[in-house]
Symmetry: C2
Subunit: 259 residues, 2 copies
DNA sequence: TAATAAATGTCGTTT
DNA sequence: AAACGACGTTTATTA
């Protein structure tokens, strides 16, 4: 015997019917999808006005809300999780007010015509894994220092200094102190400046020559100039390569490499 | 006589029915919503794996795609606009492959159970206006220089220099050259460093004293220290205040202020 | 809570 | 195409 999950799907409902479904969905912490003609007003850190048009609006059980136009990756208006919803139907239409009290932010969506309402009881405990992040690149170099260069030996990772954290500090085969800054995307001037900030601190602490190496899959034109002017070095390395290297080394604890 | 817009809404369809609807929707450049049990694999700049769970997936006519879990503001997987879709039904389920050839990026969503498919012909030409942006702050100061300080006269806006653009250059009431950097949120060390970069360039060009003013609604602790150490100044100003000032001045062209 | 840096950042603009 | 900076950036991490 089939036992269909409780869900509401209304096609071209009246504003009243739609409002009722939305209220039900929100109070029962369901995922609510509304598609239809609406306008949106936002007031908070900035303020915005979106004139009427047809959009897809998502209200999630965690209090996040998204207004999506029929184009673009990013929502035109939104509220992050933790927001509160209030739904009402008045002479303007079906109005959903989404507000965050602490941040003093409000987004109000007013529907004048609803094409679709769906109230869904979604269950999602699936694990999400991301590979080839900057952290992966860092770990890969710690596990296989030859990815940086032959003879390199890491000493510290995430070394805290005044301006932030130095990704990796180590020594090269000639025992010179080496500061490593990792970028998982094409390195820009900013990356070089970041490295420079670290070098300024290191130079203060130590009186001996220190190498600086910028690790990234690509180097922007301006960044290359700046890097050379500082006498720093560049090592091409992609997050994918690092991710591959990590696969082979899975299981060994990081600490083993700091003995 | 009613003329309902062409749209397809299927509740708990078979994978075959769902696939057919999705293919139709994508080929006709409609907005497609699918809710159901799926897994997602992404491969590109990074790579990721999302184990099965129930999600809402959006495919837009401009080639953008979003996978939303029942929580969080941001999609767990996505592709930006310009992507291409390929839909097929096989032994794994209903598979939608979203790829961008140029960037070598692929996202593949595999549905094993579909709770809802909606194919909508959304029309959205509504204008979007954002107020109290950094641009608004800049314009407000150009229109009403006293927002910065009494006697200030702007000379240039968006002055291109080596590291980027100086928001505003002007002279104060004592005719001293003044460099203005604007931030619409609390200014951090980064903002001070940005200002410093501009000052380095200006100092090269001119041999006379130059003032540097950081405009922002708030100043971070570390930023305040750094600012003082450079001898730069801070002017508190909120985007909201600027937005208000602009309302009163609507209509006058900016160029009128550079005579 | 504040600060800091990463992000599959995205998006717009200009060279 | 590349560079550059803003964004209601958001998100995670750490002091």
């Amino acid at each position: 015997m089939e036992h269909p999950r409780r869900q509401i799907v209304l096609e071209n409902p009246s504003l009243g019917e739609a409002g009722k479904a939305v209220k039900t969905g929100i109070s029962r912490h369901r995922t609510v999808i509304i598609a239809g003609m609406c306008r949106v007003d936002y007031e908070g850190r900035a303020s915005s006005k979106l004139e009427p048009g047809e959009r897809v609006v998502l209200f999630k059980p965690d209090g996040s809300a998204l207004v999506h136009r029929p184009k673009d990756y990013s929502p035109v208006n939104w509220q992050p999780s933790g927001s509160l919803f209030r739904t009402r139907v008045n002479e303007d239409g079906l109005v959903v007010r989404v507000y965050r009290r602490k941040e003093h932010e409000t987004m109000e969506v007013t529907f004048t015509d609803v094409r679709l309402v769906a109230v869904l009881d979604l269950v999602d405990a699936g694990e999400f894994s991301l590979y080839a992040s900057e952290k992966d690149m860092q770990e890969a170099i710690l596990y296989r220092p030859e990815l940086l260069e032959e003879g390199f030996r890491p000493i510290t990772k995430e070394m805290p200094v005044d301006p932030g954290f130095i990704d990796i500090i180590g020594v090269d085969k000639e025992n010179r102190l080496t500061v490593v800054e990792i970028k998982r995307v094409k390195a820009s001037k900013d990356a070089v400046n970041q490295l420079r900030k670290y070098m300024d601190v290191i130079d203060l602490d130590e009186g001996r020559p220190v190498r600086a190496i910028l690790v990234a899959p690509e180097l922007a034109k301006g960044a290359e100039m700046l890097l050379k002017s500082y006498g720093y070095e560049y090592r091409q390395l992609s997050p994918q390569t690092c991710s591959e290297a990590l696969k082979e080394k899975k299981g060994k604890p990081l600490t083993a490499f700091f003995q």
